[in-house]
């Protein structure tokens, strides 16, 4: 009983993750037996210098990549051994992504961009209404038929946030979400993310270089040489 309750509380449980890239003859160990867990509703910042394995960890936690070994349970499902198409489905249902460069489809309107994850989920009934509600939640209810090039950087990132949230994911992975924005707009975006976390209970994982942003998180995970840097906290 105790164990299941604990598991239920932990939305991310990753144990002994290793990732080895083969670059020709040489092997690069990006992760060396890293273990990390995140509670539901938590805001966690992942920090670390380039080459520390931070990106690799984010890719594995976001189900974009497989670990070489180790186990990873996301929202109660063991995902480390899933096939690519099964991982795609997990990403679709359980993970929302926010990128530094927004990554919106330039041809599509804000609404269509937010609809995209629902389309891949084969969600038919009420798709537009749900996408619109998500856009309203990030304060863009009056911009739904605008194209990305008609929106400011901050507005584009809001569309991206609406898109990340539209499927009610278990976790939202934000990779340098304010990196392409000036500090004022960046602050607004960060506030929005924290508000959504408070109001909706979304688990938020922010990957960043910026200590000021990391300071807003409830917990900071520092990665160094493919492992958690225990001494840093």
């Amino acid at each position: 009983m105790e164990a299941t309750k604990l598991m239920d509380e932990q939305v991310i449980v990753a144990q002994d993750l290793t990732k080895v890239y083969k670059m020709g003859e040489t092997e690069v160990h990006a992760l060396r037996g890293l273990s990390v867990s995140v509670r539901r509703g938590e805001v966690v910042a992942i920090m670390g210098p380039s080459g520390s394995g931070k990106s690799t960890l984010m890719n594995i936690l976001g189900c974009l990549d497989h670990p070489t070994s180790g186990s990873y349970t996301l929202d109660g499902e063991e995902v480390s051994a899933l096939r690519d198409d099964q991982l795609a489905e997990i990403r679709n249902r359980k993970v929302g992504f926010i990128f530094q460069s927004f990554n919106l489809l330039s041809r599509a309107t804000a609404l269509s961009n937010v609809e995209l994850p629902l389309r891949y989920a084969n969600f038919r009934q009420g798709r537009k209404a749900r996408a619109r509600a998500s856009l309203e939640a990030v304060g863009l209810g009056d911009r739904i038929s605008h194209h990305p090039y008609e929106l400011s950087g901050g507005q584009q990132q809001r569309v991206a946030i609406a898109r990340a949230l539209v499927n009610n994911p278990a976790i939202v992975m934000a990779d340098e979400p304010t990196g392409n924005l000036d500090s004022k707009v960046g602050g607004e975006i960060l506030d929005l993310l924290l508000t959504l976390n408070r109001d909706l209970g979304t688990t938020l994982i922010i990957v960043t270089h910026d200590p000021n942003i990391a300071a807003n998180a409830q917990r900071i995970v520092r990665v160094k040489d493919g492992s958690i840097d225990e001494g840093g906290e």
Partner: protein
Amino acid sequence: MTFGQVLFEALESLNSNKLRSGLTILGIVIGVAAVIAMLAVGQGAQNTILGSISGIGTNVLFVFRGNDQADVRNVRPLTEQDAEALSDKFAAPSVKAVAPILQGSAEASAAGETTTTTVDGITPDYDEVRNYKTSEGEFISEEQYLGYASVAVIGPETADKLFGRHEGLVGETVRISGQPFRIIGVLESKGGGAFGSQDDAIKIPLTTARSRVIRRSGDRVDLLMIEAADAASVGRASEEVAQILRTRHRNEIGKDDFTIFSQSDFIQTAQTITGVLTIFLGGVAAISLLVGGIGIMNIMLVSVAERTREIGLRKALGARRRDILVQFLAESSLLSLIGGLIGILFGWLIALAVGRIAVATGNAFAPAVSLNAIILATLFSTAVGLFFGIYPANRAASLEPVEALRYE
């Protein structure tokens, strides 16, 4: 994603780069138009040739000297005696009439004009066998045939060349190889055919021809035309003719020194020839369609490379391999389908234009766009789009999301 969404996204994507999509489509348009037009020209040629063969008449047999099918030595010529033997109602009851023919070409002149034309030495049965009629005057009679008469029946085209008209010519004189012949009739026009115009000819009595125009040793003739009693007895007539000629020529079994052709043999031969012609024309045109397909592949590869980040994003949002594959295949097939439809229209217009030009230059020739060709071109062009789209689409679908998202 539903089919409608896939189609809509593909259209949206093609629309976002109009010039590029347009040029790619143009490649397919040219290919399909060429295929349609060439098949139409081939089909038209076949129709024209088969039509002119049908004009010969269904119950006519041709007997030629020699035989390609067997190794025969001492090939005997066909003679007037052969013709007489074949006219024997008891030996060959299915044969209605026999027309031995001497064929040659000679210079004909009249009123200061000179032309080289076909001269046929014929017997009085000829008009019945060939189903010829005169627009004025008479055909060659038994008396004229037996009497070595210097008379001629002239074709309307030859008449036009020599006299500038083809009416009121009975009683005029035409010189054939320098010797005067009195015109006794003008042939009714039969139009141009696959074997040259049947209207550009002069018919004279076989006896006169042999002695004065077309010299042949003995009483040999070039060709026997045989009319069977009716269309149903063509096969029997052919057997009777073969039997009589075998006996007369003392042929060994299986080594006939003559060849009998019926209309259906000609049609078969012509169909084989025009079929090969059509395949050849279509094949040449298909190469341009292939080039168009390579254009699609090229542009789809560029598109995949350009949209690597988009593909990575879509995968991050939950697109499976199949979703990406379908998306790019939809784009390439749409390119080729649109190109195919426009190409059919263009090909049809080209075929029409070729027909107009043919008519304007005096050749009765109508290219025929067949439904088969249209279906073939549509299927083929869509298949080209699919085939040449598979490699780029597969490339897109196989991209690793991590790599694709990092792509600059």
